[in-house]
């Protein structure tokens, strides 16, 4: 094990302080609660920061200045928007399936938040360092399909329903190459534990050893979180806003919160799997982690603001005919490479 640094030190300090006042068994519970609180803090902060970031990035790419009125450099624009959304009228379409309609955005938020439990923000700073960490992430993020479908169906709106149907087609087909692209990394590490994966990259990042997997992962991840050029689910010029068409105010905001939470999540996974997680010289580990995540987020934003949208048949063809074989080939190459490496050493 490495020497203990960064966030873990803070956590230990906190644990010490709590230990003075509370009996031992409550310290664990309190620390869990604090961790959960921190994770929710991160989720809501990422949404606020990323919405602002997205607007500034898009403005930069479109030679505009972006938000610049509310607060210095428009920093408070997202906060203002949040208040605006909260004050909006809550409209429910006639003929909507009431409970399903209300539950959909809330349920969507659960997998988005649950995925954060396994991110190694820093050395030892994982809420739950499961031995099936990355597999847990895949399983949890696959749950995002149902809420979209519920929202689309419950809205009693054809655009929403088409959007819901597209979600299923898209997410199910892109999950397969995504899993296979991750498999290459898992094969090399021999473990699905997030901290093991990061530790294995101390010398060489996996983006060097697994370039194909990285490319496949980035493309499939873009599709998983429904961002351009794979934003067919909301495809605003075709189906208005897909499943979100009938949602207003806070419910609409919840969808967006989940979208940005997911954007952060896939970037964090890319960082963990391919970019060496919290490894990096000079700076503390968690700073490196967030810097790399920011880089990935920027990449996803760059995609969104330069690419047109694919058509549904092209999307499916790309997923099944290009990415899936590519990911399979990568698995084979990895296996052969590992075998040769073992023979040589």
């Amino acid at each position: 094990m490495q020497e203990v640094t960064g966030l873990y030190v803070i956590a230990e300090m906190l644990r010490d302080i709590l230990g003075h006042y509370l009996p031992a068994q409550y310290v664990d519970i309190s620390m869990s609660l604090i961790n959960i609180g921190v994770i929710f803090g991160i989720i809501s902060m990422t949404a606020v920061v990323l919405v602002y970031g997205e607007r500034k990035v898009s403005a930069f790419m479109q030679s505009r200045s972006g938000p610049n009125r509310v607060g210095p450099y428009g920093l408070l624009q997202t906060i203002a928007d949040m208040f605006k959304l909260m004050s909006k009228e809550d409209i429910m379409p006639a003929g909507a399936d009431k409970w399903m309609w209300i539950l959909a955005p809330m349920i969507l938020f659960i997998p988005a938040a649950a995925a954060y439990a396994v991110f190694p923000f820093d050395n030892q700073a994982v809420f739950a360092d499961l031995n099936i960490g990355i597999f847990y992430f895949i399983a949890v993020s696959s749950q995002a399909v149902l809420p979209f479908l519920m929202a689309g169906w419950a809205s009693n709106n054809k655009y929403a329903l088409i959007g819901g149907m597209r979600t299923v087609a898209q997410m199910l087909s892109y999950e397969v190459p995504m899993v296979l692209s991750i498999l290459g990394v898992v094969m090399m590490v021999g473990s699905m534990r997030m901290s093991d994966i990061v530790a294995a990259q101390q010398n060489v990042w996996f983006i060097v050893l697994q370039p194909i997997a990285f490319v496949v992962y980035v493309i499939t991840a873009t599709a998983e979180i429904n961002r351009a050029p794979f934003d067919l689910v909301e495809g605003e010029s075709e189906i208005v806003a897909g499943p979100f068409t009938e949602y207003t105010g806070m419910r609409f905001a919840l969808f967006f919160l989940a979208e940005y939470a997911n954007l952060f999540a896939v970037s964090a996974i890319a960082t963990t799997l391919f970019l060496g997680g919290w490894h990096g010289p000079w700076l503390p580990g968690w700073v490196w982690f967030f810097l790399k995540v920011a880089g990935m987020v920027f990449l996803f934003m760059w995609f969104r603001w330069t690419f047109p949208r694919l058509r549904i048949d092209q999307l499916m063809a790309l997923g099944w005919k290009v990415l899936l074989p590519l990911a399979l080939v990568n698995v084979v190459i990895t296996g052969v490479g590992m075998y040769i490496y073992q023979l040589l050493s």
Partner: protein, 170 residues
């Protein structure tokens, strides 16, 4: 903390599983039924976690909830919306009564077996790295079984593609 937390978690997951399973049968709307089925799967995977079978729990989530339940829900949603009420009849007609009777008998027999079996408690600790062990088993002892299943699934997939593509009219 651990003891009562686990107990509480068990009862919560068990309640969710049973309640949603009952809902699947009694709900009047097929779409609601299939969504409750998804919830039931989630409850079951929670129970797996409590049994320290976390890999199995994740598989349950991914395969049953992430794929099978979605296909169920999708299928039911594609039926026409206007006639969705009463798509899942639960009238007390003769076949329903018969099925109810058989199910009741099945439950009674199962409960009886559970109650009368002398269960042995395993003293061995839970396997820590389940995926590795499972992977090794699948690729050695159960190789043929897995390959057979794979071929079967492939055939099913080809069949599905043929069905979905349809045949030209002429």
């Amino acid at each position: 903390m651990n003891e009562w937390a686990y107990t509480a978690a068990f009862f919560i997951f068990a309640a969710v599983t049973v309640a949603s399973a009952v809902g699947v049968v009694t709900k009047n709307d097929l779409v609601h039924s299939s969504l409750l089925l998804a919830l039931c799967f989630v409850g079951v995977s929670g129970l797996y976690v409590l049994l320290q079978a976390d890999f199995l729990a994740a598989v349950q989530l991914l395969v049953y909830n992430g794929a099978i339940a979605i296909v169920f829900v999708l299928g039911t949603m594609l039926t026409r919306r206007s006639i969705r009420h009463g798509t899942n009849h639960s009238e007390a007609d003769a076949p329903s009564r018969l099925i109810g009777l058989i199910s009741g008998l099945f439950v009674a027999v199962t409960l009886g077996v559970i109650a009368t079996t002398p269960w042995n408690y395993s003293s061995a600790g839970a396997v820590q790295d389940t995926p590795a062990v499972l992977g090794r088993l699948i690729l050695t002892d159960y190789m043929i079984a897995m390959e057979v299943a794979a071929v079967l699934l492939l055939a099913a997939m080809i069949g599905a593609i043929v069905l979905a593509k349809g045949v030209d009219e002429e």
